[in-house]
């Protein structure tokens, strides 16, 4: 069977698809996360092995590492969709980038937060200017900048393109920023921080961590698709298919008729005006 993928590049066509995918990814994510929690709390040793054994608090690893991975991965996804949008000028790609950004910011914040609560018992401090922490903080700023720029521009088209360009500039700068933080003294750069090796970790710990990563990943899909649907609805609210869909659904629960003056105002101004004030 041959599927015409470009058919789904239009928001109208993708809206119902996303609607079907959200519960699938959501339920799968929930199942995986619950499994990872169970495995992480009950099937793992009480200590993280190695030369410097860590006690129960190491269990933060089950959310810290997956959150950090997701924060970086989602920025890549965001920049990739931005690039696709700028090159092919497809509206859905920009919407996708916008749908991913808040989830990415949340995971970035979680990586910092959980890192702080892991750092306190193991390093004796909530915050340290460690290269990885600092880079994660900068990544958080980049997410915030992307969302701030997009929401500051009223015109959807300009907002999409401007934020996309910013995302790509950020992607180009990220390795340089990371490198400059990692190696502030170019005269002796080697071995500034300990190298983490996934393969050395005890297999039950690794299982819980990887399953949780998968769970977070599927969760990101579900959240991004749900947000994508909101964005599509908000932007296409004047189009025939949205109206038809709403009519069929019974026009929603609200029944109080708004005053006539405000109504005419809202009608004339169309989508741009009406779309202000609702965050997605």
């Amino acid at each position: 069977m041959k599927i015409n993928w470009f058919k789904y590049a239009s928001p109208t066509a993708f809206y119902p698809v996303a609607g079907r995918l959200v519960p699938v990814f959501g339920v799968a994510a929930l199942a995986l996360m619950l499994f990872a929690l169970y495995w992480g709390f009950f099937e793992t040793p009480e200590r993280l092995g190695g030369t410097n054994p860590q006690k129960e608090y190491y269990r933060i690893i089950f959310i810290h590492v997956p959150a950090a991975w997701m924060s970086m991965w989602l920025y890549l996804v965001l920049a990739a969709w931005s690039a696709v949008g700028l090159v092919f000028n497809t509206r859905l790609s920009f919407m996708m980038a916008n749908a991913v950004a808040p989830t990415g910011a949340i995971f970035t914040f979680l990586a910092l937060w959980t890192g702080a609560f892991w750092g306190r018992p193991s390093w004796g401090t909530y915050w340290d200017w460690d290269p990885r922490l600092t880079s994660e903080l900068i990544l958080f700023f980049l997410y915030i900048g992307f969302m701030a720029l997009h929401s500051a521009i009223d015109d959807n088209r300009r907002a999409d393109q401007a934020a996309a360009l910013l995302a790509i500039v950020g992607l180009v700068m990220l390795p340089i920023i990371y490198w400059s933080i990692n190696c502030p003294d170019p005269n002796n750069c080697a071995a500034l921080h300990q190298r983490s090796s996934v393969t050395d970790i005890e297999s039950n710990i690794l299982t819980a961590m990887l399953v949780m990563t998968l769970g977070f990943w599927l969760y990101s899909f579900a959240a991004a698709f749900a947000r994508l649907r909101n964005i599509i609805l908000l932007r296409e609210q004047d189009s025939a298919w949205v109206r038809k869909m709403v009519d069929e659904a019974g026009a929603g629960p609200s029944s109080s008729p708004p005053p006539g003056a405000g109504a005419a105002d809202g009608l004339d101004a169309g989508g741009h005006r009406a779309s202000r004030g609702v965050s997605v």
């Binding site: 006690k55 608090y57 959310i63 947000r227 109206r243 929603g252 809202g266 009406a274």
Partner: protein, 63 residues
């Protein structure tokens, strides 16, 4: 019962472990709630606009 207390105390590191897991839980749940609510708000508004259109615009005239 003792098992539950042991589990909750996490070897004396309850504060760190549950602060980290609690924030993760709270934020993910909050995101889902916010997404659902904004979806409802948007649908309500679209429905209201649609009704207004049918009231104000005579049938047959393109809006």
């Amino acid at each position: 019962m003792q098992g539950l207390i042991d589990f909750l105390s996490q070897g004396g590191y309850a504060f760190y472990v549950w602060s980290a897991f609690g924030m993760t839980f709270a934020l993910l749940v909050a995101e889902v709630v916010v997404l659902r609510r904004s979806r409802r708000t948007i649908l309500q508004r679209v429905g209201r606009l649609a009704r207004l259109r049918t009231q104000n615009v005579p049938p047959g005239e393109p809006s």
